[in-house]
Amino acid sequence: MATTIYIDDRAYNADPKQNVLHACLSLGFNLPYFCWHPAMGSVGACRQCAVKQFKDEKDKHGKIVMACMTASAEGTRISIQDPEVAEFRAAVIEGMMSNHPHDCPVCDEGGHCHLQDMTVMTGHDYRRYEFQKRTFRNQYLGPLVNHEMNRCIQCSRCVRFYREYAGGRDFDVFGLRDQVYFGRQADGILENEFSGNLVEVCPTGVFTDKTLKQHYARKWDMQMAPSVCVHCGLGCNTTPGERYGTLRQIVTRYNSEVNGYFLCNRGRYGYEFVNSEHRIRASRLVRDDNPTNLTKAEAIERLAPLVAEGRKAIGIGSPRASLESNFLLRTLVGRERFYAGVSDDHFKLISTMIEILRGGPAHSPSLREIELSDAVLILGEDVTNVAARMALSLRQSVRQQPMQIADKMRIPLWDDHAVRDALQDAKGPLFIASPAATNLDDVATHTYRAAPNDVARLGFAIACLIDKTAPAVSDLPVDLWTLAEGIAQALKKAHQPLIISGPSCNNEAVIQAAANVARALCAVGPKAGLSFTMPECNSFGLALMDAAPLSQAFQAVRDGAADAIVILENDLYRRAPAPSVDAFLSGTKDVTVLDHLLNQTAAIATLAIPAGTFAEVDGTLVSSEGRAQRFYQVFVPEGDIQASWQWLRDVMAAAGRQEGTAWQDIDDVIAAMGAAIPALAQVQKAAPGAAFRIVGQKVPREPERYSGRTAMLANISVNEPKPPDDPNTPLSFSMEGTLEQPPAALIPFFWSPGWNSIQATNFYQTEIAGPLRGGDPGVRLIGPAAQLHGTYFDQIPAAFAPSGDEWLLVPLYHIFGSEELSLSASALAELAPKPYVAVNAEDAKRLRVEAGEQIAMKVDGAAYILPAKIKAELPPGIAGLPAGLPGLAGIALPARTVLEKEGEPLHSS
């Protein structure tokens, strides 16, 4: 129900559950602000959004109030233009500026600085403060965030985000008066996984992107396009920026259903792999161990005969390649000869997860829905390290239930600190069952540390406590029953309960248990959400393509049923143990790899082809929610780099295949894909087609003020080159084009007159913090079928029992280190852990090792010697191995293995 409020004597509709600042910005008014943040609410600190409030029509005097602290109650009457309040707003800026350095020209924030915008907006333009400015010592905060405290205007946004919103502990506010200091107790790397958001949350240049600093360009000088993060399965929306052929930075692309205003550090800083010196920049033929470069035509000519009709080439798809590239490979080699480039374990687990989501009754929630969940059970996932942005949503979800306290006191939910003061430490139910500690444990109601099988058993027990018809678990210890009972009650009482699981434990029973809990909840009442993490950016999409498991590809080579292998954007050494990959790759004469980086697989391929990264090509990815999202080419890379799907199409054309000439652009590929694979029929709705125009014009990737266009390549040729064509999309590689707001899927960057910072997002939303105009981008490909099918899973695993000398080795995930591409981003690589094997203190004692001493072990015949790490919480008999680190990537986990102190075997054999 809307209320009527009056702004400068005109009536407008407003949301009574919101404040006047929210209303003014939603209506498009230029009302400056600092401390208020659309995701974090109001605190009334900066006093910048002052308006004049009048009691009624007759009140001509009015009083100055803060718009952010004033409810949009029926009949609220305010003025933005009133001269007294306009003077006040200018005075607030003047006060902030009293200490702010005049270093805009050399400040990284310049050109996308909210403080600059607001200063201009209030009209403050003359310095009257004549005293010395206060100065601070800046801190080293790690490789991601730069600190320049002299620029601080004391709005407190950073500390509110870091501590209150993201749960960080190693950053705080110190000091008082005009010398408030935001930083750490001492120099050091910011520990929180979301610290990178400080660069956007900070309205000025205190916190800036340290990686951007290495290759700086102003926002207005960057070429940008809508993109999707490739560093986990969540599909966060991003805006990458490029200049001179180098990717410079990533900022958040708002999507109310997905990532909202925030990204995790892996998503923000992983981009540096695009600029890596290990990129494959030209086709590379290896003959007798000698690599030579091929031209584009030579590469195509070389590959075409291998995949011609009648040949026996097989293709290995990729969970980190686009739908289009996978589909092209599938078409090229034939559906029966197309294999999923994931481990067989993951293949099975992901198929099971998708089957469960298709069958219902629980649906897979968006991140926004996850944030609104009021009771959460996590089975087997370390969310912060696997799907980090989801952890940020979960941190907010634990506040849902306690919000009733604030409601009862009639505290509006936007009144952030009043709500926090009323709620104090009250937290809603969040239960985490996993083998090792997680970074959400501090907000959990209860944590349960156990082997994957026991995690599953707990889940099964909860399900049957919720719904008696679900299969029961026998021999569960009493304390576990009590825990299960408590969790079952909390979930049943919730309005929007949520179960989170996924393939991290590599244990099907864990996933099935999660499905049972969700099914049981739906059977007895509350509409439960069921969210499965996906390991990679297109794991979900690849799983919809009817690929066969990787082991069958290995078998085909062993059987002599394949004479060439085409590997799409994949390092198989991360998918299977090295000996089997070695055997596979040496089993045929021709191994072609299309990829970005010269990884282990590409390095031994006979032909390596330079495939464009997300920033250099167009494509579609399907997120763990089941949302198909388009990412757009940000820039035209140098040399022969192009999309894998373009390479494969060109190869098909060269091989005389009709599709190779028929599929001119990405729209043709998507249409063909939809026709061939019904599950992907909706993909074309994810974004407007290439022919889309706004009054005949394309959408420019470059801001209007993009500079140096005529000069930037003048050292090569004084003739200004024609901007490259883009036949695939409605975007242009130019500053010319429509000035209108494009549809949400096509927003290359957020900008609005007078709003150069990312806060311009306000003007692209239907209302502040609501959906983007015309609906948030992406189309959901999956939902519970109208006719629900499926039943409870009833294969309940046996409890884990530690056995003598053998440990169960389980994967432990690291936000920096476990994911392949971001490992090649130098700033993140710096933060990745060194390989280790973790056991609890008791087990370490049994092994007679201290932390840091070497442990020897054998997995699948391969020997490893790794330093011991003591993780107190690991259950007895469970050892943890970091997932995905170089040297450990292909190990199939969980595995049973003997651990020994190096040089001191327990039993000589």
């Binding site: 605190v43 009334g44 600190a45 900066c46 006093r47 910048q48 002052a50 009083k63 100055i64 109030v65 602290m69 006040f88 005075a91 607030v92 003047e94 006060g95 902030m96 009293s98 200490n99 009257r128 403060y129 004549e130 005293f131 205007i153 004391q154 407190s156 506010v173 000091g175 008082l176 008066r177 005009d178 010398q179 408030v180 306290i405 006191m409 009639r410 505290i411 009144d415 600190h417 009043a418 003061d421 009323a422 709620l423 104090q424 009250a426």
Partner: protein, 424 residues
């Protein structure tokens, strides 16, 4: 003239009455009476007495209590906090009560707590008041020993605990919501209001924060009734008031006098007038954060209504006197230095404006003031007006400044003209 608040305070330098002596002098009588009354009746008594908060704002005490949720579904624990963080410059009235008669405060706290059915009490004490801390601790221990505190007070069904909390020492902590944050172990920034502490206070629970002097009045109101209390006063605001005078007067000090005693009487009769050779120029009537009053206001009655009519506030009722041998600009610099230093840094007009004002005042004193400076100072008083800032600190800091600019403008201008402080 009755002096209920100070009647038990030894004037010979002895320590305060212990519990036995206090009871012998009629102490804890209100407790026995109150515990037999319905809690709401006590609130009603206090309402009828017109007792107004003595911490400076003068909010009606009974009305404040009536906002606390009561009844079976009211949230618990509820808290009563005695604000003993007396850091207002020039103010030392609560110190006398804390050091001189600690049991009176305890008795007042129990009666107030009983009225709102609070479970736990805190005394939030200024860090420098070490003697008060020692004496309060002893009195609290005595009260526990004699079942005046703790479970089932005096055999009744009512239980109440008191904890003494010694502040880490910031002016900001005297603001009731910042005080609550400090008590919770958080940074002492003020909280937004609404919600008021009576609804969402300490640890999110209903809380009444009350000045020491206010609480000390409660037992007497319970004992003698609202009509008696009102009869103590010269004016409509009930009771007596501790008035203090500091500055270059003959007898600086503190006196319990009928509410509404005139400025002149306090200054001339009780403080003995100005020291020999000095002339009165003006005074801040109720601590540093009140507007100057001058000669023309000497017959103003010191109560919440009359001082306001004269363009200032009674505040804490403890005046700081300015004489003609003291530089008003220097005095202002001193005050604004204090306020600027004590700004918590939360809201922009306060942290930036107080700093700016302080710098200008310093430059005037150092002889580097410039034409236009007074306009800048005036501008800051306008920008930091009540309601513009997050809490009352900055508007309070502007009160002496804005009135000094009005009454002593020539002194300011002289500083600029002569590029020096004429008093140096």
């Amino acid at each position: 003239m009755e002096t209920p608040l100070t009647k038990n305070i030894p004037t010979n330098g002895d320590g305060p009455l212990d519990l036995k002596a206090y009871e012998k002098a009629g102490g804890y009588e209100s407790l026995r009476k109150a515990l037999r009354m319905p809690p709401a009746d006590i609130t009603e008594l206090v309402k009828k007495s017109d007792l107004k908060g003595r911490g400076g704002a003068g909010f009606p005490t009974g009305e404040k209590w009536s906002f606390v949720p009561v009844g079976a579904d009211a949230p618990h624990p509820k808290y009563l906090v005695a604000n003993a963080d007396e850091m207002e410059p020039g103010t030392f009235k609560d110190r006398l009560l804390l050091e001189g008669d600690p049991h009176q405060l305890i008795e007042g706290m129990i009666a107030a707590a009983y009225a709102v059915q609070a479970d736990i009490g805190y005394i939030f004490l200024r860090a420098e008041y070490t003697l008060a801390a020692e004496r309060m601790r002893k009195a609290i221990a005595e009260a526990y020993d004699d079942h005046h505190l703790g479970k089932n007070i005096l055999g009744s069904t009512y239980s109440f605990d008191i904890h003494l909390h010694v502040s880490a020492g910031r002016y900001m902590c005297g603001e009731e919501t910042a005080l609550l944050n400090a008590l919770e172990g958080k940074r002492a920034n003020p909280r937004s209001k609404p919600p008021f502490p009576q609804v969402s206070g300490l640890w999110g629970k209903p809380t009444v924060v009350q000045n020491v002097e206010t609480l000390c009045n409660v037992p007497h109101i319970v004992n003698h009734g609202p009509d008696w209390f009102k009869s103590l006063s010269h004016t409509a605001d009930g009771g007596t008031k501790l008035y203090g005078v500091s500055g270059k007067v003959k007898r600086p000090g503190l006196w319990e006098l009928p509410m509404g005693t005139t400025v002149r009487e306090i200054l001339e009769e009780h403080a003995g007038g100005m020291r020999e050779g000095l002339k009165f120029r003006g005074l801040l009537p109720g601590g540093a954060s009140t507007d100057f009053l001058t000669k023309q206001h000497l017959d103003t009655r010191m109560d919440f209504t009359e001082v306001q009519k004269a363009g200032s506030r009674m505040g804490t009722g403890t005046m700081i006197v300015l004489d003609d041998h003291t530089c008003p600009v220097g005095m202002l610099w001193n005050l604004e230095h204090f306020f600027a230093q004590e700004s918590c840094g939360w809201c922009t007009p306060c942290w930036s404006g107080l700093n700016w004002a302080e710098r200008i005042l310093r430059s005037l004193e150092e002889g580097t003031g410039q034409p236009g400076d007074l306009e800048k100072l005036g501008f800051q008083t306008k920008i930091n007006a009540p309601g513009h800032t997050f809490c009352a600190l900055a508007p309070g800091a502007m009160e002496p400044l804005q009135s000094a600019l009005k009454y002593f403008r020539e002194d300011f201008e002289q500083h600029i003209r002569e590029h020096r402080c004429p008093w140096k």
